[in-house]
């Protein structure tokens, strides 16, 4: 692998009117599974949207795969994979057709295209349903298809926004297993957001807990837990870092979005 981090931010900031969604974020993520945690509205999704070039920062800089997210967005896009929180596979196409669309948009050489697609389908255990319309897939199958699409062009960094939202435990376990294997097989840097502390504990090498646009705590799950108490859980770390009271966290829009995604996947 090349020296230099897959994701690095310097005072990355995004305002929406008077609201500072992300406030001077300094983060380096490389060669690991990194989890961004935090209550709704903490700035996780805004951070990801800036890193994947969908949202210009108000101020500050970031480099992804070595390129500037604002000045070199095209070069960044070529080198990243993204699975949005929302449902992004096209339900009217088959699994294979979805992969063909991704392969074509990333200009995979024709000589390797169909072999690569077959391999991705096998890896995600979707080969038996490859030619079925995605609308008939379960939530876990759709998420695995989306992971396959996001990995097809061998990105240097993979961004997963709430990868298991709305999945039942079986679907969630299968997605976790694929993420771990992907990390092992390709050595891809993975940055994910999640609400679930058990997910962060199970998947992430390091986590950052965001609160009101800033990083309130960062470290490996075990470091963070040990810093509080010997028997502490990540839930305790989360509560300590965010001081969240029961009625905080998320706007009507956040809730609507999460529930909509959950109902579509379920």
């Amino acid at each position: 692998m090349i020296a230099g981090p897959a994701v690095q931010t310097l005072d990355l900031t995004r305002r929406f009117g008077d609201v500072v969604a992300v406030d001077g974020l300094n983060l380096t993520v490389d060669d690991e599974v990194f989890g961004l945690l935090g209550p709704n509205g903490a700035g996780k999704t805004t951070t990801i949207k800036m890193l994947i070039t969908l949202l210009p920062p108000t101020s500050g800089d970031a480099r992804v795969a070595g390129f500037d997210i604002a000045q070199e967005a095209g070069l960044v896009r070529r080198r990243i994979g993204y699975v949005p929180q929302l449902l992004s596979a096209d339900g009217a196409l088959t699994g294979r057709e979805n992969l063909e669309l991704s392969a074509a948009l990333y200009h995979l050489p024709r000589t390797v295209r169909s072999a690569r697609i077959d391999e991705a389908l096998r890896f995600m255990e979707l080969d038996s349903v490859a030619d079925r319309i995605v609308r008939t897939y379960s939530g876990g199958m759709i998420r695995r298809l989306e992971l396959a699409q996001a990995m097809l062009h061998e990105p240097a960094a993979l961004f997963l926004d709430e990868p298991t939202v709305g999945l039942d435990p079986t679907g969630r376990d299968a997605v976790w297993a694929r993420i771990r294997e992907l990390r092992e097989r390709d050595g891809t840097t993975i940055l994910l957001t999640t609400h679930h502390m058990d997910e962060a504990d199970a998947l992430c090498d390091r986590v950052a807990i965001m609160h009101r646009g800033v990083v309130a705590a960062i470290g490996t799950p075990s470091e963070l837990k040990a810093a509080i108490a010997p028997e502490a859980t990540l839930d305790d770390v989360f509560r300590r870092a965010t001081g969240t009271d029961i009625d905080a966290g998320g706007t009507y829009r956040d809730v609507a979005r999460t529930r909509r995604t959950a109902s579509r996947l379920g």
């Binding site: 090349i2 020296a3 230099g4 981090p5 897959a6 690095q8 931010t9 310097l10 300094n26 983060l27 380096t28 994947i52 070039t53 969908l54 949202l55 800089d61 970031a62 480099r63 795969a65 070595g66 390129f67 095209g74 070069l75 896009r77 070529r78 080198r79 990243i80 993204y82 949005p84 929180q85 929302l86 449902l87 992004s88 596979a89 096209d90 339900g91 009217a92 196409l93 057709e97 669309l101 991704s102 074509a104 948009l105 990333y106 200009h107 995979l108 050489p109 319309i133 699409q149 061998e154 990083v215 705590a217 960062i218 470290g219 470091e223 810093a227 300590r240 870092a241 909509r260 579509r264």
Partner: protein, 280 residues
């Protein structure tokens, strides 16, 4: 609590990619084709919408056309009223189906499909051109159905190859234009409810302020001005001369093609700028 480390400068560590990209203009064409093909695959799989949209123009020809033709209320020169009406109905069917194209785009936004396309390396202009091309090609099915019905009820259609190619080209261009117009509205309003309202609001004025169902000469002066700014007028004008035996273009085919092409390019340029609003 652990200390949050600070970054003081960013390292430039460019990651190589495993294969080369084709050069820009070729990439634009490939990406446009990729998007259009994927859209048309969906139409081919579920053609119900395209087919049902052909029902309305058939009613215009069979009911409205037959009645108005029998009372001879509208002077259409040397053409019979039905001959005059058929190109207008064809253009109308293209307009009415293309103008709601934006709904599908808002739907794709409410899912995460648009976001994923926008994160891909395809340029915004290629993404919207692909959508527009699909919107244009989709309308050929309706055009074919309308033409068959027109032939059956005895409308005097031209049958030479050049005219047929001309009709197809105008139908594709006009539909792509209105589909892109629709896409732009979708990018601005970003909600299905508001879009439906605006879509309904747009179609009737575009239709009535054109030469689709009566000659521009019958209109009051203010409406003539509106009609001369309406792309549908030029689409109908071109179709009338290309489709109908004895049909004459008022503005000339070169003007018609020119106006439609330039409007289309402007629409695409606007769409390429607006499309990323859907991800915000």
């Amino acid at each position: 609590m652990l200390e949050v480390p600070t970054v003081t400068s960013l390292e430039r560590a460019e990651r190589p990619v495993a294969w080369a990209e084709p050069p820009g203009p070729i990439r634009f064409l490939i990406d446009t084709g990729t998007i259009a093909r994927s859209e048309l695959r969906k139409v081919a799989r579920d053609p119900v919408e395209v087919l049902t949209r052909a029902a309305q123009p058939i009613l215009w020809l069979l009911v409205f056309g037959q009645v108005l033709s029998s009372i001879r209320a509208i002077p259409t020169g040397s053409l019979s009223y039905l001959d005059f009406l058929a190109p207008g109905v064809l253009a109308q069917s293209a307009l009415f189906s293309a103008i709601f194209y934006g709904i599908a785009v808002i739907w794709e936004r409410d899912l995460g499909i648009v976001q994923k396309l926008l994160v891909s390396p395809a340029s915004r202009s290629a993404l919207v051109s692909g959508k527009a091309l699909a919107g244009g090609l989709r309308s050929i099915v309706q055009a074919l159905i309308v033409t068959i019905v027109a032939a059956v009820i005895g409308i005097h259609l031209r049958a030479d190859l050049l005219s047929i190619i001309g009709v197809i080209a105008i139908v594709i261009l006009g539909s792509a234009l209105f589909a892109t117009f629709s896409l732009n509205i979708a990018c601005l309003v970003r909600s299905r409810e508001r879009f439906m309202g605006i879509g309904q609001l747009m179609t009737m004025p575009l239709f009535f302020a054109s030469s689709a169902i009566y000659p521009v000469a019958l209109m009051p002066d203010w409406l003539k001005v509106v009609a001369s700014l309406n792309p549908l007028t030029y689409m109908v004008d071109a179709l009338r001369s290309l489709m109908i035996v004895g049909g004459v273009s008022e503005h000339g085919l070169a003007t018609d093609f020119g106006v439609l092409s330039i409007t289309f390019i402007v629409m695409i340029a606007i769409a390429a700028r607006l499309y990323s609003r859907l991800a915000a």
